[in-house]
Amino acid sequence: MDLRFTAEEIAWRDEVRAFIDAELDPALRERMRVGFGPTKQETIDWQRKLNKKGWACPGWPEEFGGATWTPVQRLIFNEAIQSAPAPDLQGFNITMLGPVLAHFGTPEQKAYFLPRAANLDDWWCQGFSEPGAGSDLASLKTAAKREGDFYIVNGQKIWTSTAHMADWIFALVRTDPNARKKQEGISFLLIDMKTPGITVRPIISIDGSHHLNEVFFDDVKVPVHQRVYEENRGWDVAKYLLGNERSGIARLGKSRANLEFAVDTARQVRSGGAPLVEDRGFRHRVAQIEVDIKALELTQMRVIAAASKKSDGKPDPFSSLLKIKGTELLQATSELIMDTGGPMAMPIWASELHALGNEPIAPEWAGYMAAPYLMLRAASIYGGTNEIQRNILNKAVLRL
């Protein structure tokens, strides 16, 4: 037993870091360090740099451009990206759709969509949740009625991240309203967002950003050849998608970057006549987070080591542990950032702390403090709420 990285693994980490240092725009990196997300174009540019390097879709089968990395190499890669921080691999294209098409797609679907997804020629979004189907996803109602070579889609999706910038959406739709079990009447469709009848309406979230949307389908015509896998077997596809990519789900690199940012800011903030970083209470919060990061780091490696040994392709229920503990750390670190800001966490935008003529009238960090805190409240809700993850642990491990 040896928990340390091998010399080869450390060399790999250095190689990834060196690539990031050489290729990532420093201005973007700095904006991400203080809590902003990349723009669509920045994500595309970065994804194309990775694609050129052969690192765009490491989790895909090799024949479609995937890498032959070990699970540990994957982890090191993800964490180097997160802690840089650099834009994550575009999740809908790379983590979700790619493996699904590689596994279930027709030869034509693979040949057309996979290279475009890897290069972000198409920006995909995910149409799963509906107003009446959140945690209980299988109760979704959006209907797809077969008419000749087309499905006619009617209904509504919600919480659709980046739908307003997407070229395509992969959606779960109900093709058999009379199926015995609700899971059995669902199909998985690929839909061009430019198809007539699609309307996207923004949902502004509590951090003030526009990330989420509602997507309405009104007699939208979708060719049958854009269905993935068999009709009424879409639930199998969805389960495969949700269980597929778990490496990096804990997002520890991001939590580490958050913690570093909080400590760095606390060196500049004064409290009680000294830098906040010397405050006992602040230091204790950092220490506790460091303990929790270390524990999860090791647990994550154990889960990955176990995953690389089994071959049944089933998701490891312990990835629910990684999701719960990882998002708790994202929330704890973003909370620390906000509290580090003190009163300066109250203004909405950094730009409002600039005088006329754009002269800054407050320290550089001010105005960045609360956005990650607000945004990351979603972390314990998306991807299966942390309560649902506990249900999964119970069902698969505890069996109560």
């Binding site: 037993m1 040896d2 928990l3 340390r4 990285f5 091998t6 693994e9 540990v72 400590v263 970083v277 010397e278 006992r280 602040f282 230091r283 204790h284 950092v286 220490a287 506790q288 460091e290 303990v291 929790d292 270390k294 524990a295 999860l296 090791l298 647990t299 490696m301 154990r302 080591a305 176990a306 312990f318 542990l321 719960i324 503990k325 309560e387 506990r390 249900n391 642990l393 119970n394 491990v397 505890l398 109560l400």
Partner: protein, 378 residues
């Protein structure tokens, strides 16, 4: 990175688990506890026979030549069975002091005796006023003709009542809290001037208050070099944290198992209480804490022989807090989910609860190590 056990390690785990499964039931343990020593000489003989008492010692002395991971595997099993015997005191604590600081003559004389099961040792360092402060030593040793004279008192010495030899820390120079000037000595348990008052700890294991009144020992009783005992004491504490962390992991595994069984069988409102989601989620939290604690226990085991001092001490602080918090969470909720029966002396959960409690107050508690980590934030 590699989490695999060797075939030897798997064999070791299986044979310890089998022995304890057969011989160390909760009922049998009650019997062991009632024996005069408070533990079973017979089981101690079994441990010797299996080679467990020689696990970390060099083959040259008849040992097994094992490492911290081997100790971890044994201690996990001990934690499942709540083993009462003086393994931690003899093999891990005093054993580490001997391994790290003992002379060739001392090791040749003592280690084979430990390995064969004939000799038990204790590590007497803590004093009543010292709390977790490793450098707070008021017991003194002064040079006399042909040896040393020791005066002072040691507190909560694990298995100090039964030890044939006691490793004692004493101040040979410096002020009360100086790190320099602490020296380790080997004292016979029945030496003239040694008074031992043995007692049971909350978890049923034994300990002693030991006083030293002009105890004379020869020059060959000096363990290590003069005035440099502090570093050795640190290594002993770390070995103790690693071993006890594994024990806590074993106890957490057992508490979770027993609690899940209870949730499946206990009926209220016409159904098993485990059908209540609020209890399922609490059990899921216990599972997660157990796994996170296991990770930290592995970290501790990997750090026992780390040579980079800063890296080692920092990781031990992280591990001690992690295992301590996990153990507290799991044991508290194991009692809670059992309800009234969890509060009884008769039922096993409370015994595990109290063993975990011992860990928290050994070698520095959660607050102590969080303070250390906090001091490094700047």
């Amino acid at each position: 990175m590699d989490f695999d056990l060797t075939d030897d390690q798997k064999l070791l785990t299986d044979s310890v688990a089998r022995l304890l499964g057969d011989r160390y039931t909760f009922e049998a343990r009650k019997g062991f506890q009632k024996q005069d020593a408070g533990w079973s000489a017979d089981m101690w003989g079994q441990f010797a026979e299996m080679g467990l008492l020689g696990l970390p010692f060099d083959e040259a002395y008849g040992g097994f030549g094992g490492g911290a991971v081997d100790i971890m595997l044994v201690m996990e099993q001990f934690g499942k069975a709540l083993v009462l015997e003086p393994y931690l005191a003899t093999v891990v604590l005093a054993g580490t002091a001997l391994r790290v600081a003992g002379s060739e003559a001392q090791k040749s004389a003592i280690l084979p005796e430990i390995i064969g099961g004939a000799m038990k040792l204790a590590f007497a360092h803590g004093e009543q006023g010292a709390r977790y402060d490793l450098s707070d030593v008021t017991t003194t040793a002064r040079k006399a003709a042909g040896g040393w004279v020791i005066d002072g008192a040691k507190s909560v010495v694990l298995h100090g009542d039964c030890a044939d030899k006691i490793v004692v820390s004493a101040r040979t120079s410096g002020d009360r809290n100086d790190e320099a000037g602490i020296t380790l000595f080997l004292v016979d348990g029945d030496a003239k001037g040694v008074t031992r008052r043995g007692y049971q700890l909350r978890d049923g294991t034994r300990a002693a208050e030991i006083s030293f009144a002009s105890v004379e020992i020869g020059d060959d009783g000096l363990l290590g070099t003069l005035g440099t005992g502090f570093a050795v004491i640190g290594r002993v504490g770390e070995a103790g944290i690693s071993a006890m962390s594994a024990e806590v992991v074993g106890s957490m595994d057992k508490m979770l198992d027993v609690t899940l069984d209870y949730l499946r069988t206990r009926q209220q409102f016409g159904k098993a209480i485990g059908e209540n989601q609020v209890l399922q989620h609490k059990a899921a939290d216990m599972l997660m804490a157990t796994e996170q604690g296991r990770s930290m226990s592995m970290l501790a085991a990997m750090m026992v022989d780390e040579t980079d001092d800063a890296e080692r001490t920092r990781n031990f602080a992280l591990a001690k807090v992690g295992v301590g918090q996990a153990g507290r969470f799991v044991s508290q909720n194991a009692v809670q989910l059992h309800g009234g029966i969890g509060m009884t002396e008769e039922y096993l959960i409370g015994h595990y609860f109290r063993r975990v409690m011992m860990f928290e107050h050994s070698f520095g508690d959660t607050a102590y190590y969080l303070n250390k980590l906090a001091d490094q934030v700047h």
